[in-house]
Amino acid sequence: MRIFHSLALAVASVLALAGSARAADLRPQSKLLLTGGVSNVEGAGGGGLASWATTTGYGAAQGVGANLHATGAKLDDYELRSWGAAAGLFDRVEVSYARQAFDTGKTGALLGIGKGFTFHQDIWGAKAVLVGDAIYDQDRLLPQIAVGVQHKNNDRDGLVAALGARSDKGTDYYLAATELLLAQSLLINGTVRSTAANQFGLLGFGGPNGGRSTQVEGSVAWLASKRLAFGAEYRSKPDNLAFARENDAVDVFAAYALNKNLSVTAAYVDLGDIATFKNQRGLYLSLQAGF
């Protein structure tokens, strides 16, 4: 996939940044492997579909971490690509940007919008940790809790309006709770999200069936080793458009950290029906490079 090429170039600049963070005595790379999560579909630190309460990258309380990601998912009738950048600051705050491309490929012709018609979306995200320490508070039931916001802007204003969406822009708000049960080698996350996004926002926001609603995300991951985690996720989505039904999404994933600079996530996702095409399932692959 094309996006993985430009990633290589970007990695070099991120590593140069890591060098200057070290020179500034910001103690980069001081978090444990995989503990910031990976870059999810919206560019936030989390699993594949869910946003977690952890902050991305390997900067601990005294440092910053940052990374780039490139993701591709080949579904039965569409292709979803994304790239983005994110930074974690002092284990408290995360800022992220992602650009998603939803490529209709051959299906575009069948939908009457043209072969290879592609929707794009910019997602600007921020997250702040409120309480808890998922890693060190092993004697407390209180999870790490964070609030987040994701502002999304779709570039196909005219078409999403024609499909019935009320807007081509929207903002998601979420509250995420992440608990690491170290004695069980398990990570559990639950998130509630207030959103009007149709198919993450790729088909606009709101519609004839409704506007903003509360949705949930859940992830369970088993840590098989320092570098390897296996997990499963669920994410509910609104069903606002009249021309096509929207379903909830699920995935099973494996995340592998080669080291603190490179990790790979492979997943099998089921996004349900998308724009009248049934059961959109496929392989999801994401690379993350950073410090």
């Binding site: 103690r27 601990a60 005294q62 170290l182 004695a183």
Partner: protein
């Protein structure tokens, strides 16, 4: 074991009482000290100083290959801590012999191996070091490497880490 402990407490108590007058002559080493160990200021000895209750299940202690395995892990961990650029400046001023002994006792105690812990509590032992989260993570990484080297399975490693993790609050600012 019990008598040795009682004797030790007594020695510490006596040392505490004579501390002012005998400032010039070093206090005698307690019974549990190993050769080469420096004598530290007196403190009340108690298993509670270990900072965590022992695991009930012996399987984890066995996965660490008992006290001998723990000794090898701690030996490796402490040596790494004295050379790792992230932690060596903190360790350099302290007594490697004593840290190895007390840390090994602590891990053995916490894993339910039946060892008595004769060291200080975590707040006292790390007082004024100015430890922060990244120091802790560096130590945990080195402990993981030492446990890997001993062949301790990842799940058993996490049982120990789950016991040690909350101690961070006692010894570091954030």
């Amino acid at each position: 074991m019990k008598t040795a402990l009682a004797l030790g407490v007594l020695t510490v108590a006596v040392a505490a009482m004579t501390h002012r007058v005998a400032a010039q002559t070093p206090a005698p080493a307690p019974a549990w000290a190993v050769p080469g160990e420096e004598v530290v200021d007196p403190y009340a000895v108690s298993d509670a100083n270990a900072g965590a209750t022992p695991l009930a299940d012996r399987a984890v202690f066995e996965a660490f290959h008992g006290k001998a395995g723990i000794d090898r892990i701690i030996d490796d961990l402490v040596d790494r801590s004295f050379t790792d650029p992230r932690t060596k400046d903190i360790f350099v001023a302290f007594d490697r012999v004593r840290i190895k002994r007390t840390l090994s006792e602590q891990v053995c105690h916490v894993l339910g191996g039946g060892c008595a812990y004769t060291g200080r509590d975590m707040a006292a032992a790390h007082k004024d070091m100015g430890l922060v989260g990244s120091d802790m993570n560096a130590l945990v990484e080195n402990l993981q490497l030492a446990m890997d080297r001993e062949g301790v399975p990842f799940g058993a490693q996490n049982r120990l880490l789950a016991k040690l993790a909350p101690m961070k609050r006692e010894m570091s600012t954030r």
